[in-house]
Symmetry: C2
Subunit: 378 residues, 2 copies
């Protein structure tokens, strides 16, 4: 059986990238590898639309976000953190561990922080050093309007605008410099289409300045050390060489397609999936659905586990279930990374067949029809 | 030109392992991956010769060692750290960052800590919570007699025996349980023959108990969280999936060869390389040479940079140079991981040709002859 992955990380890896990573390994302190990192560092700037440094760390996205908490602040510093899902929750817990004074903006799952919520938090906490936003909350598929909120934060405070872009970068428009973002983190197994193991951290001039004055114990995830090595396109510790080689090949694909085209492809595929599921009466979970992942309520009368068993066991398709309180209640279809229109047709087709076998009553074929009409409308 | 890597990490990756890692990626929270991690966790126990947990972390070896400092101790705790090279030095610096009280045993580069040094440090510091030893110091190629020192530490203190086994595991005998080791860390790009990006941490019952009482801020590198997920062969954060799949294949090779055979192969190859370089009058740098890497003085009259340019540019061989004070003065030939006798013949042959072209006077062929005689003597 052919197996197909529709999960929001790991995402499918282009065959050419897999084969590139399978070439004999090279040493990281050698000119051949320096050529790779030089190109990677240049193309990461293009990905984030920045002239500022984008640091590569060997860790998961969680480690990437941690590097910002331990490298930019000092114990006792106040940060505002938006929590609208499993990852937002993590960005509340994590800074507390490091003695930061965390102001939590709690958001209902499936929703995004509003301008009013941010403004009121800033007003109540004029000493906040940063606001952490989750661009696309993987657990809920809710997208945050980072551009608008960054503007509000910039106009009303000196707080750094810190973005968890882990499942957003590559799917959602991200203009790091133009929007005045200070920190943006992503992971390798998301829009970058390679296996997990690397995190990328873009840093504004203000963020770099904050790193200079931060007093927080750190070593492996120290961005100050990383920035120093970055000057020579190097890393302080041994990097995940094969993954860096993979990201080089993947970034080249993004450069070739053009970042605006990559963003609009994600928007188009997300819209098509939404049209597909809506056409068969399924309900979307999120108020502001992400372009990376579409969360859908499991329809009444359908049991998630047996539904998923058919989808996976009979059709070879892996999607993501709900998390925490929404386990068994929602499922999440990812269209982040290496996907095209035809993948979406296949996905909705398999979903329809699986729903039919699960006893859900609907007009078989209506989903794919709705999806095709959405695609044709563009 | 064929390119050949003789560096102490990354080390060459078996072709079958490279191809395994190039297969379509799977999701980490799925039964297929759980089968992989279950097998990896079982075979890691075999590698370390332990019945205790061996945790897999997505980071370099440095991150692996850091996980032990931040997870086993509390600020103010005293640890004894042996520093006989670039990595030993790091294990002195790193715990200081986290507020540990570090007693440094300084060792001349190329030498290893003696029983007397350890005993006297333990006597002067009866409150030491741990002693950190570097099994094979990569920068100097010096091996520490971990078995003997662990016995001394166990008999004379309650200090935990913590071993940086980053370049040693797979090359040097390691009997974690039998020798009474409490912590042993290794990296993926060493004896495990896969690309960098994973660290492995074996933990004794005493180490696990220390983790229970440790009060140190930590999140990504938290071994307590990792141990909890380990019960289900899972990880708290997204692991480097493709590397874990690689390590599964690599561990199977080690199981098939037999760990005692892997150790004796490394001992045999190291002895052969030493015989080879000695036969042409080169001098060894280390008093107790490691079985992972052999450091050799650059002979008088030979200029390292132009020598290395020939070796690399004409023969495609990458070796490691000296570090810090020994840059340009020594070079290091690795035989750690996926090497056999014939690789050693090739290495010494290329070394001889390069030395000849670099103006060094010797009997061309004597090196390979010495190496063959050493191999035949076994």
């Amino acid at each position: 059986m052919k197996k197909r992955l529709f999960t929001p990380g790991p995402t499918p890896i282009p065959e050419t990238v897999m084969l590139k990573m399978a070439e004999p390994i090279i040493h990281h302190r050698n000119p051949e590898f320096n050529e790779v990192t030089t190109r990677v560092n240049k193309n990461l700037k293009y990905l984030f639309q920045t002239e500022q440094p984008v640091i590569t760390l060997t860790c998961s996205g969680t480690g990437g976000v941690e590097s910002t908490f331990v490298s930019l602040f000092s114990p006792g510093d106040k940060v505002i953190s938006c929590n609208g899902g499993k990852f937002g929750e993590r960005w509340v817990k994590m800074p507390k561990v490091y003695g930061l004074n965390v102001v939590e903006i709690k958001i209902e799952w499936g929703k995004a922080p509003t301008e009013e919520q941010i403004l009121s938090a800033l007003k109540a906490n004029p000493d906040a050093k940063a606001v952490y936003l989750t661009h696309s909350e993987t657990s809920t598929g809710a997208a945050t309007d980072v551009k608008a909120l960054a503007k509000i934060i910039r106009e009303n405070s000196n707080a750094l605008v810190c973005v968890d872009g882990i499942t957003a970068v590559g799917a959602h428009e991200m203009r790091f410099d133009e929007w005045g973002i200070d920190v943006c983190v992503t992971g390798s197994q998301k829009g970058l289409m390679i296996p997990p193991g690397l995190a990328f951290v873009a840093l504004s001039k203000r963020a770099v300045a904050a790193i200079e004055t931060s007093k927080m114990p750190r070593f492996y995830l120290d961005l100050k050390r990383a920035l120093k090595s970055y000057q020579d396109n190097d890393t302080p510790w041994t990097p995940a060489v094969s993954l860096v080689i993979g990201v080089d090949a993947a970034l080249q694909k993004i450069v070739d397609e053009g970042i605006e085209n990559v963003w609009s492809r994600h928007k188009r595929l997300a819209g098509a999936i939404r049209a597909g599921v809506s056409s068969i009466g399924l309900k979307l979970f999120s108020e502001f659905p992400s372009f990376a992942v579409t969360p859908v309520w499991v329809p009444e009368g359908v049991e998630w586990k047996s539904f998923n068993k058919i989808l996976k066991g009979k059709y070879g398709i892996t999607i993501a279930g709900g998390q925490d309180d929404f386990t068994g209640k929602i499922f999440r279809i990812s269209h982040l990374g290496y996907y095209d229109e035809l993948d979406m047709i296949m996905m909705i087709g398999a979903l329809e067949l699986t729903l039919k076998e699960s006893g859900y009553k609907f007009d078989l074929g209506a989903g794919v029809k709705g999806l095709l009409q959405a695609l044709a409308a563009k």
